[in-house]
């Protein structure tokens, strides 16, 4: 494998997303402002109930991770389908680099763009809602955050290949996945509140465990609401992330071969 070629390809494909986040400030405003509105509603519910302040922090952290989930759904999973519509896909496929480089570039670029939004949400949480983050283990927090993103974007890479096979259905699947995942991941409440069986089911969504672990590490006084220990959650996320990335690699290869057999990698007019 030509490592330099693939690293350059990752950089090349990440570039439009990084530029997109910086060149169009209006996008950043709407992508940050609108999620904050829905998040603020939950914060005010907790305020009105006189719930511990940490619950407001749970929502802020949930809001941050939700932006990544939305990016995975709309910026990763659907992306190859859109690339096909614009003729970029056939150019990617006919180029010599590994196609995983394209997905990795999309993921890294997407992470960067979404992190800009995530940081904005954290700042709103700290300065507008006066949420105190008490970080007990910084490096573990960073490791869990990083591995959660790997697992989450690994899922996005997998979906990208599958959605390409499913075509237009992808749009509906995205919409179908959006709200249930908000609920199951415990975006606005600790996932433990769902009970054991639902919590276990929810753990198959990568950011459920990641969010739960990060909440434990930033709001230690509410550790009782933690589902599993952060170390165990990290271990599960590592396994999940590795599995999803490998599965994505297989799915991409399978999709490419199937598309070459069926003639579905390009639009008929291309």
């Amino acid at each position: 494998m030509n490592v330099m070629l693939n690293l350059r390809a990752v950089k090349g494909r990440a570039y439009p997303r990084v530029i997109g986040a910086l060149r169009e400030p209006s996008w950043a405003f709407w992508d940050t402002f609108l999620p904050i509105l829905s998040m603020a509603a939950y914060v005010y519910v907790y305020k009105s109930l006189n719930a511990p302040k940490e619950f407001e922090g749970f929502v802020i952290l949930g809001g941050v991770m939700t932006t990544y989930w939305l990016n995975v759904l709309w910026g990763m999973a659907s992306q190859l389908y859109w690339e096909k519509e614009t003729a970029n896909l056939q150019l990617y496929l006919a180029a010599p680099m590994s196609k995983m480089s394209i997905l990795a570039g999309m993921a890294l670029g997407g992470m960067f763009a979404t992190t800009v939004r995530g940081v904005s949400i954290i700042l709103v949480g700290v300065f507008v809602f006066q949420v105190d983050f008490v970080i007990t283990n910084f490096w573990l927090l960073i490791a869990i955050f990083g591995i959660t993103l790997v697992a989450l974007y690994g899922m996005g890479m997998l979906f990208a290949s599958l959605f390409l096979i499913w075509g237009r259905e992808a749009w509906h699947i995205n919409m179908l996945l959006e709200e249930p995942v908000y609920f199951l991941s415990g975006y606005s409440f600790p996932v433990k509140a769902l009970g054991l069986s639902l919590s276990v089911a929810a753990s198959f969504i990568p950011f459920t465990l990641g969010l739960d672990a990060m909440r434990q590490l930033t709001f230690p006084s509410m550790a009782e609401w933690g589902l599993l220990s952060p170390y165990l959650e990290l271990a599960i996320l590592v396994i999940m992330g590795t599995f999803l990335v490998l599965l994505a690699r297989y799915a991409l290869h399978y999709m490419e071969n199937l598309g070459k057999e069926r003639g579905t990698l390009t639009m008929r007019w291309q």
Binding site: N2, Y15, A87, A94, P96, M97, L265
Partner: protein, 318 residues
Amino acid sequence: MDAITCENLGRLFKSKKRTVEALANVTISVKKGELFGLLGPNGAGKTTLIKVFTTLLLPTSGTAHVYGYDVTKDEKKIRPIINMVSGGEYSGYGLLTVKENLWMFSQFYGIPGKEADRRITTLLNRLNIAHMEKRKLRTLSTGERQRVNIIRAFMTEPKVVFLDEPTLGLDVETARLIRIFIREWLEHDPDHTVLLTTHYMMEADELCDRIAIIHQGKIVALDTPQALKNMVTKEISLKVDVYPEIGLDWLHSLDGIIGFKSKEMGGKVRVRAVVDGEQVVGDVLAGINERGGKIQYLQKEEPTLEDVFLKLTGRGLE
């Protein structure tokens, strides 16, 4: 070793309702340094053949090779040495500038940054769009965008370039510029090879060393443009403007008509026909008279590739 070859190549597209034979027993061989044209109407199988050679589509029968590499097994060896451009292509990202888009695509071929910069600048100058390098892609016209696509394909210094209707919908000036560029690129290195598809007969005639005429997935003729035109030297190529518009179905059954096409032109109809001898010209003119048509313009012409196509398939290219 030839640059591009295929033998008895076939491609079927199957759906629940029907099976379409896009390519049937196609055999061609393109030499290194050659500009080889595939001439045929829309839906003839030109794009399908390009997709097979560019490793985007598997053949259902036969074999295809690029630089000796099998398209079904050696895609990793083929992809670094080829590139492609399609007519009306909207690749790239509108948010990025022309130069940024080109740089991005250069990275997919592993070209180091400074070298990519050098190649992009040279080609932007060659195609007269250096002043647009900082413009966002979405602000370009179709012709400007196609020049960018051409640069995208040639900056990777491929050995073989596949051009699928590269001048489709372009203004005369841009199309001419692109044709000159392609010819110069070929002359720059004896190993450079181009496979070009087009349904513009003038383009095929002007550019190509050899031409394969493709119709309904089959190669119906293959030779140099002049040799193809020689196929119709015994016949007469006729252009007639008739007014008012009259029905022309009777031409189908007229003895000696090899092929014809007609085009309505605001109250009159232009007929282009290849006929077998002077006697048939008289029969055509008499037939028009009998049906109330008047001859506004009549010309016997030098045969063109379109006449060859008419002779071989009985229909026009467009």
